[in-house]
Symmetry: C2
Subunit: 343 residues, 2 copies
């Protein structure tokens, strides 16, 4: 493969000049540039990336570490996220390094994946997803002054850039809508409290109730345990609610997979969604619209989130001043046919 040295020799200039036609074309005389460019084409020369990276001490690469539990292997969520991230990377000429770790990996090991990338200078920045309470990864990245951006907020008192979807808002809207339909007892099936997004959503549920002057009843809230199959968990969750003395006639479910289980459970119980029980699903998986009845959902702007994440991170890496690196996007309640008037 041709090197910059070959190009220099053939076009009878120094390698410095060749480098300049590639990186600072305005610095070299037009005719020289032309000549070099021709040789480059003739030799099909492409600068070696490792060499360039070493020399510049940067890689124009960011990393995303995917939490691949069995659970989110299935989440269409991530496909949209990736689409957004890779699109911006492509536009801004950055590369994306993707690696996975299973969520049942212990925290230390997970952190070491991040550390490895950072310390071997394999990437210029990182995207962190699904922060937990007191997230070790965030602490580490702040302490070591890395470039990174988080999908989601944290409860640690450190400042860092993030993009998040306002789960609290989404949930309160869901409650408001159900309240509009006359519901007073609204069930809630949520994800593990360890994740920040779970907390925000639950908080939104409570705030929503409060806004509608509905008293919070802890008996109506079920929290699914981590490591459980989500579909099964949803099924168990809804049955628990339906077996209450005073079962709710409406339920909000915090996640697509859970909702699948919930629907299954409702049917098994002999009830019909949108008839005997109203259902809202947080996150609008594409199949929701195709169910019978179509499921009222809270749609998250995931693709946009992916774009924002990579945009902020890349700007940060490039040292561009960022006006706002705390971005809270609003989800949207998509009303379909899975909720009906109370009574």
């Amino acid at each position: 493969m041709a090197t910059i040295f070959d190009v220099a020799r053939m076009s009878k200039v120094s390698i410095g000049t060749v480098s300049n036609v590639l990186n600072n074309p305005e610095k070299v005389k037009t005719e020289t540039r032309q000549r070099v460019l021709e040789v480059i084409k003739a030799l099909n020369f492409h600068p070696n990336l490792s060499a360039r990276n070493l020399s510049r001490l940067r890689t124009d690469t960011i990393a995303l570490i995917f939490p691949f539990s069995k659970r989110n292997r299935m989440e269409p969520y991530y496909t949209y996220l990736l689409a957004g991230i890779t699109e911006i990377c492509f536009q801004m000429n950055f590369k994306l390094l993707l690696s996975s770790c299973t969520t049942n990996i212990n925290e230390k090991e997970e952190l070491s994946i991040y550390a490895e990338y950072v310390e071997s200078q394999a990437v210029d920045g990182l995207i962190v997803t699904t922060p937990k309470s007191c997230d070790e990864r965030i602490k580490f990245l702040v302490e070591t002054k890395q470039n990174f951006v988080v999908l989601g907020r944290s409860n640690i008192s450190l400042d860092f850039p993030w993009v998040d979807i306002d789960g609290s808002y989404g949930m309160s809207e869901a409650v408001r809508y159900l309240s509009t339909l006359g519901h007073k007892r609204i069930g809630y099936i949520g994800t593990p409290n360890i994740f920040m997004f779970s907390r925000h959503r639950l908080e939104g549920y409570e705030r929503g109730l409060n806004n509608c002057n509905i008293e919070f009843d802890p008996e109506l809230v079920v929290e699914v345990s981590i490591n459980e199959d989500e579909v099964e968990a949803g099924e168990k969750g809804i049955l628990q609610l339906l077996r209450l003395n005073l079962p709710p006639k409406a339920v909000i479910v915090s996640g697509n997979q859970l909702a699948l289980g919930v629907i299954k459970g409702i049917n098994k119980f002999g009830y019909a969604v949108g008839k005997d029980i109203s259902l809202i699903c947080f996150d609008d998986a594409e199949w929701n619209v195709h169910f019978n009845p179509p499921i009222t959902s809270i749609r998250q702007p995931i693709y946009e989130t992916g774009k924002m994440l990579s945009k902020i991170l890349i700007q940060q890496i490039k040292g561009v001043k960022i006006k706002d690196s705390h971005i809270l996007l609003k989800p949207e309640l998509i009303i379909r046919e899975s909720c009906k008037k109370y009574g």
Copy 2:
């Protein structure tokens, strides 16, 4: 950040020795090794990856270029594939570079993404997905003697490693099953002929008919056009079939998205799936089991495919002899409740 030079100085050995404790530990005396290791830990030294890559002239990185049309942004398929690929990468200590290109990008541009990776030596190998008829990418990669593996087969007479799911077998099984139920007129809604997988599946459909002594009727086959919204396409497709003089009472649909549209179309037409019309979906999206009725599907071992792809590619890169680099995995017919006896 500490460099190998710092480590050498602090542990009073040459940088060569430090390099050896990292890469050929058996070559250095135990006590020296211990001492160096301690310094490495103390300094939190991690070899700079760019330097290592440059020196070794390899990157231990493979690339996957994702075809992100609006279409497969939604395909859960790819999430599973990625899970498999990243898992093996993790195990074998390889990195994965992910980039996307929209399918409406023209072929030349798409090829240039591949060329860029290859020629700048950014990666040691590539995974190519969804080959088309006379796929330019494959030709290029063979000609330039690159390490690569294809998800799918090709119709060009070049030898290259691939992993594929036997779409032909899957389709013929679907036909056989429907024939068992007494169906003679079986509709087929397929994806664009330009993709190899479409051809294999259609071929399997025809072969299946042949095996069952059913005559092939071109009127029962609709091919969706590329660039079309798949759900809509499915809907149009099924309506076209239902409006035939002698409409089929069973239909096989080649893809999840198409199937969503088909179900929609069937309902709009006033028919019920699994009652007025039998339906088989090729590819078993997770929601299929949750539909009412649950959809009989042909399940593809996608996760395994991802694992095989990366395993073969990495072995190839490492120069390991591969027993078999043409792997055809069998899909499986999952019988649920969307098909009923003819009549």
